[in-house]
Symmetry: C2
């Protein structure tokens, strides 16, 4: 499955950019690091219409294109030069599954959100010649990268819109991600990551998908029969043909690379653990956009951080689909996101 | 471990009452069904001061005694005759682990909430000679049994206080419980339930406990460092020495018996699936008492049911500890519960 999943046919078009060797915060090195990049629209002469969109756990540039970018949307390719960069480990950029032994697979080094953001910074400044970003916007782990961008490169980011994510991962969120990890690693077929083919770990992947179903949506999502509204006949049908069909073809080591990165996201690493000081560095005009029914990046956690960001605004999105409303599953979602993003983009910064 | 866990030393004192053979709704039969019963206080001459307390998933009569019953509490043994009945499958009453082959262990029949309530009814009417109950009160699966009592025997139950539970299990809750089940059954040592000793399934039991940590408490519980307030030095310490220490000694087949029962709780089985009609049968004065931060029996689900119960009142308990606040971990919990229960007991019914 993995041979047909992480492909141009399934997730393209994207271009591979070699940004050279990337020395990682945890000590490893990715040689000839490749970033898979999808662009939409054209950079203007003033070079001030560039928008960066990082990706979330398990996601690729394709879902960002489908759910957030298009004519008439806030992220309109006729107005903006939109650069979607696939995160390291997601299967399109350099990842465990496409890095050969002994540096790949189970041996792939630990990557942090900060590594991704430095890699993207190199890409944007050296390969694309950019000095400013009109906006960085991303959901979930994309929000983690958005916060890291705004804290690490405050002069480059004019606006920031972290959706359904936090700048510092919470203990509860860490714990949830740990159960996802253990669902995979507990499968005897995982074999410490030295499986012959990802499909061998199917039992672990199935459990991983079911855990996502519990925390990814919300009680109300199921109570109001949203799976049925989305075209599924039953809970079983939804679990099998949405959740497990989605995660099933992915590579276990890729998922674990992203999970570790997600768990350890923390902008306060820049300030010796002082979150207030770290968020105080942000100069981007920031809209903090949690999703109302998110069970692991709940609005309260996002609000606490928003209060530490100078000049920021709290812009929650009302959506019973919870965290995975990020996929744009609910008809009312895109309109709310676009309204906030359009307003943010219209704000001088 | 199981040899020292399900004992008088660990969970007593309790008495075993044989209620005879119990024919189950799913078709099996428990022969010489034993109910483990702990009583507090004395039945008065009018026989109108009896309170029934059923137990929750994994719980026994001991935790109900410790967290809810005592002098000066609403459930005061000096005023009431309090009967705590351990649910079938919890390890003290007839359960998979204490029923010999071929009827026990992995072969133990499926038990429904309705079976427990019929068994308890037989116990209370035949063994204790009771005709009325001043109150039925329980948390979580204890709430499921409370609802079943109020719907099935409306003339016998004068007051009802379901805490942190619903009358009909929700789809989301079903799904969460399924992940608990799969955490255990996916352990190769589980061996379809034919393990030689429960400790062999330790990997599955450890994962089961960690899933409980994610959904059992709340984001705020961890954010506000409640584990530290409870005397644990770190997340790891809390997971290991609270969650896993609690669930670790239990018998996997016992847990699975209770989980299936939990998943399938539904009072509308009495009314061909019509929940409104089922709850409309209730004649008990009912206080519906969800816990504010409960992630799988959220207040909204409880409120929807409360509106269908004639003359009932919605009495939420504010507690960031979430569902497992049921253990009385938070200093503000018992006072709130007692206030509501005392008011309910003082209400003519």
């Amino acid at each position: 499955m993995v041979d047909t999943y992480y492909t141009q046919e399934a997730h393209g078009p994207f271009a591979l950019h070699d940004i050279g060797s990337l020395e990682l915060e945890e000590g490893g090195t990715i040689r000839n690091c490749q970033l898979a990049v999808a662009t939409h629209g054209t950079l203007n002469a003033a070079k001030d219409n560039a928008i960066l969109v990082p990706t979330w756990y398990s996601g690729t540039s394709k879902i960002m294109e489908q759910a957030y970018i298009g004519p008439g949307r806030a992220l309109d390719p006729s107005r903006y030069f939109i650069i979607v960069v696939n995160q390291i480990g997601n299967g399109l950029s350099t990842s465990p599954h496409n890095t050969p032994f002994p540096a790949g697979g189970a041996r792939f080094p630990r990557v942090r959100i900060g590594d991704d953001v430095r890699a993207q910074h190199r890409l944007l400044t050296q390969n694309f010649g950019l000095e400013r970003l009109a906006l960085v916007v991303g959901g979930s782990m994309g929000a983690q990268q958005t916060y890291e961008w705004a804290v690490r490169y405050p002069d480059m980011v004019r606006r920031a819109a972290p959706i359904a994510g936090t700048a510092k991962n919470t203990v509860h969120d860490f714990l949830f991600a740990q159960t996802l990890v253990e669902a995979i690693t507990s499968d005897p077929a995982f074999a410490d990551g030295f499986y012959a083919a990802p499909g061998e770990v199917h039992r672990g992947l199935l459990r991983h998908a079911k855990l996502w179903a519990v925390m990814g949506w919300s009680t109300e999502f199921f109570q109001q029969r949203r799976p049925q509204a989305l075209g599924f006949s039953s809970l079983d049908d939804f679990i099998t043909n949405f959740m497990q069909a989605y995660f099933g073809p992915m590579d276990p080591n890729n998922l674990l690379c992203m999970a570790w990165k997600w768990q350890h996201a923390d902008v306060s690493r820049h300030t010796q653990g002082d979150l207030k000081q770290a968020l105080g560095r942000i100069r981007a005009k920031t809209f903090v956009m949690p999703i109302s029914h998110d069970m692991f990046f709940p609005p309260a956690d996002c609000l606490a951080e928003q209060r530490l960001i100078p000049g920021s605004e709290f812009r929650p999105i009302d959506c019973i689909d919870g965290h995975l409303g990020l996929f744009g599953t609910h008809a009312d979602y895109a309109g709310q996101v676009d309204k906030h993003l359009a307003e943010l983009l219209a704000t001088p910064a």
